[in-house]
């Protein structure tokens, strides 16, 4: 058993932290949060230059051939520093879907372009029911003259407004089992009938409504097999859920660091507030939450990376990390007091993201329901 990072992973972590501190200062984060695009092309290409986009892709597809755990370490750092942009959508949701389900041709075409930073992907899964289950997929794709016509509304779709391709999860067959009859289509975002509307959100992350209004796509755009797309979605959701936990761990660590350093500097009653037990105990609880989230996330990530059955561990990690990150940000706000309630301070950038991260891919209650099912209840 080894709960630590390899030398290579330590190097990756350190280089990511150094790079992001320099290249993605909070000034840029704020600017991007406030913009419509939500990403910087310059930073995007620099990240691609470091090999981040292709980190977990095999070398034959332009990647570095590292594993999912390495990607998790990178995402933890991206969560620590906050990196606005479509990395998660493109690499974790889109890239891993193509890698998991794509044909040789699709992999050869798309993965190198993702790795080089040339294209941005978005995955259109959720709909107005906002659920992550197969039954929530109502968007239809109807076969017509050897092509498919997609019709439906996708909601809470991250980064679709800047995407070159949108991976649309659509229903191609009505079956008793809602997990049957689902097909994935990699749709050119410029296709006629695709309409993206940016939603204004708490985290100022870039979520969209994407309407597919009779969008015609070729049969070649199917990723995986027709009617058998759901297992790919499940596979990718499992990875994405752990990846989101890793971001949360990084974010929670940053919040803890911020709160602790403030508690050491801020003087009231003639002494640093960090010398008061009330504040110390907040910090101790935060540190315990961060540490708990980290190791439970690593365990789930390791299981996923090893292709072991991981549904229980992934649900445990997300159930715990969602709530833990929430508690950590709330305590930090309490420690920071009024300064934390200003737009000038960085704290709200994390608080907003903690809320969004808790919900995406299923909140703690949703994950607990999965845990209960996995326990055979």
């Amino acid at each position: 058993m080894d709960l630590g990072l390899s030398e290579e992973q330590e190097m990756l972590r350190k280089s990511a932290r150094d790079f992001l501190q320099k290249e993605c200062p909070k000034r840029l984060v704020r600017q991007l949060d406030e913009s419509d695009e939500g990403y910087s092309a310059e930073l995007w290409h620099k990240m691609a230059g470091l090999g981040w986009m292709g980190l977990a892709f095999p070398e034959e597809y332009g990647g570095s051939g590292r594993n999912f755990l390495d990607l998790v370490i990178l995402l933890e750092e991206m969560g620590y520093n906050i990196v606005p942009g479509p990395f998660f959508s493109t690499v974790v949701l889109g890239g891993l879907s193509v890698l998991a389900g794509g044909s040789e041709e699709q992999k050869s075409e798309f993965l190198p372009k993702i790795a080089s930073g040339e294209i941005i992907l978005s995955v259109a899964l959720t709909e107005p029911t906002a659920g992550y289950d197969a039954a929530s997929i109502k968007t239809k794709a109807i076969a017509r003259n050897g092509k498919y016509v997609i019709k439906g509304t996708k909601l809470f779709v991250f980064d679709a407004h800047v995407a070159d391709y949108i991976l649309c999860v659509a229903r191609t067959k009505q079956a008793k089992n809602p997990e049957e009859g689902i097909t994935l289509f990699l749709v050119n975002a410029k296709s006629p009938g695709v309409k993206c509307t940016l939603l204004k959100t708490l985290a100022r992350d870039k979520q969209c409504e994407v309407v597919f209004d009779d969008v015609t796509v070729s049969a070649n755009s199917i990723v995986g097999r027709r009617d058998a797309g759901w297992p790919i979605v499940k596979n990718v959701l499992r990875r994405a859920t752990v990846a989101k936990c890793a971001e949360m761990v990084g974010g929670a660590q940053a919040v803890l660091d911020m709160a602790v350093s403030y508690a050491k500097e801020r003087v009231q009653f003639g002494r640093p507030i960090g010398s008061f037990q009330a504040i110390q105990h907040y910090c101790a609880n935060m540190a315990t939450d961060v540490s708990g989230s980290r190791f439970i996330t690593y365990k789930a990530a390791w299981k996923v990376s090893e292709n072991l059955p991981a549904d229980l561990d992934v649900a445990i990690a997300k159930a715990w990390s969602s709530e833990a990150y929430g508690r950590v940000t709330l305590s930090a706000h309490q420690i920071l007091g009024a300064i934390g309630f200003t737009m000038d301070h960085d704290m709200h950038l994390y608080y907003r993201r903690a809320k969004a991260a808790a919900i995406v891919f299923g909140d703690a209650d949703f994950q607990c329901a999965t845990v209960a099912r996995e326990l055979g209840l």
Partner: protein, 396 residues
């Protein structure tokens, strides 16, 4: 990163598990004494079992072989502790104190003779120590302890009162912290002694715990003469020895493993019990409660694994142990709470009722879990340690 145990470790786990299945006495299983619930009968069974454990070498897994230990790897010690607790093996808190605190301290600070005398006997399961730390006015503020040890010729003479001495009425020796220099700053005048509990001048008075059992005691030392060679380590350096000992092997894995067993029993109960014609396991609130417990206990288990892993890497966890301790203590209280919610009125019944369920484990746990998070350093003190040692927050 690798969360797998090696084949050799898995083999060891199977060996331990199989041995425990065979060796835990049936009578012990019938008595099912939970933490702080030992009786004279269960104590006798535990002592006998301890000798069996000793013969396997599992009572001194960490100690050097020359003193009867096994020098097991940290991971195997973790596995051993996990399996012992999960199987509810006949052990008391004092065995853990003796094995995890006292013997490693003797190995680290004791004389050659002390190592030979005491470590070997602990390893064989022949002797048990009780802790003589707390006093009526020295609890969380342990360094304010007042029990005096005065050097007179070839002896030390001990006077004072200790309290909360768990199993002091049954232990063979007391691991005593006493003040040997009242004029020195308070952390610099404390020494550690081994005191034979049969020494004249020692009076043990029972204190009855909330489970209505006699598990701890007040111990009075009235001109107790002990030989000089029973001083452990350096005179007046006892506080530092004691603080180092507090960091030994406190992964809290035993609590997490024991709690896992209880959660599994609650899950089984929910699956097998119907209420208003519906299985309890279909009740969304029950499902959520149980899932939440599983989530929290798994986090606790990983925290404990982390401690063992750190030791295995030659690192020295300190505040990490406090995190683990605080966390599992609160998970256990929440387990008792959730258990009560799930069992409802049935959770209130003691074991002598024919209506009792789960052998009244939840009602007993409601009481016993009050002690976890207090004993061995309260959660407030543990949080201070996390904040000051772990996060570097200022004392003043």
């Amino acid at each position: 990163m690798d969360f797998k145990f090696t084949e050799d470790e898995e083999k060891f786990r199977r060996e331990v598990r199989q041995w425990l299945e065979q060796e835990i006495p049936q009578r012990w299983i019938e008595l099912d004494p939970g933490i702080w619930e030992e009786t004279e009968e269960s104590w006798a069974l535990a002592r006998e079992f301890q000798r069996k454990l000793g013969r396997k070498g599992w009572l001194a897994p960490s100690c050097p072989k020359e003193y009867g230990g096994l020098e097991l790897s940290h991971m195997k010690r973790l596995i051993l502790a996990e399996e012992l607790a999960y199987s509810r093996a006949p052990l008391s808190i004092e065995v853990e104190v003796t094995v995890n605190w006292v013997t490693p301290s003797i190995v680290l600070f004791g004389t050659e003779e002390q190592k030979k005398n005491y470590v070997g006997s602990v390893a064989k399961g022949d002797i048990i120590f009780c802790l003589g730390y707390s006093e009526p006015n020295a609890g969380s503020d342990l360094a304010s302890l007042q029990t005096r040890g005065v050097e007179v010729g070839e002896e030390y003479v001990i006077n004072g009162q200790k309290t909360w001495c768990s199993y002091g009425h049954l232990a063979d020796y007391c691991w005593l912290a006493a003040r040997t220099d009242p004029d020195a700053p308070r952390h610099e005048g404390i020494s550690i002694f081994i005191v034979d509990m049969k020494t004249p001048g020692i009076t043990v008075r029972p204190l009855i715990n909330v489970l209505n059992r006699h598990s701890f005691n007040e111990v009075f030392f009235d001109d107790v003469h002990i030989p000089k060679e029973n001083l452990v380590g350096q005179k007046n350096k006892g506080w530092y020895q004691l603080v180092i000992a507090l960091d030994f092997e406190r992964s809290s894995i035993g609590y997490a493993a024991a709690n896992q067993r209880t959660i599994e029993e609650l899950i089984k109960y929910a699956k097998e019990t119907t209420r208003n014609g519906e299985p309890l396991a279909k009740d969304p609130l029950v499902r959520n409660d149980l899932a939440q417990l599983v989530v929290e206990n798994e986090v606790a288990r990983m925290m404990a694994y982390r401690i063992a892993w750190m030791f295995s890497k030659g690192l020295h966890p300190s505040y990490e142990s406090s995190m683990s301790m605080v966390f599992i203590s609160e998970v256990m209280r929440r387990t008792a709470n959730a258990g009560m919610r799930i069992l409802g009125h049935y959770g209130e019944l003691d074991r002598d009722s024919k209506w009792a369920v789960m052998n009244a484990r939840i009602m007993r746990m409601c009481l016993s879990s009050l002690s976890i998070g207090v004993g061995g350093g309260s959660n407030e003190i543990q949080r201070n340690i996390i904040a000051i040692r772990g996060l570097g927050l200022p004392r003043k």
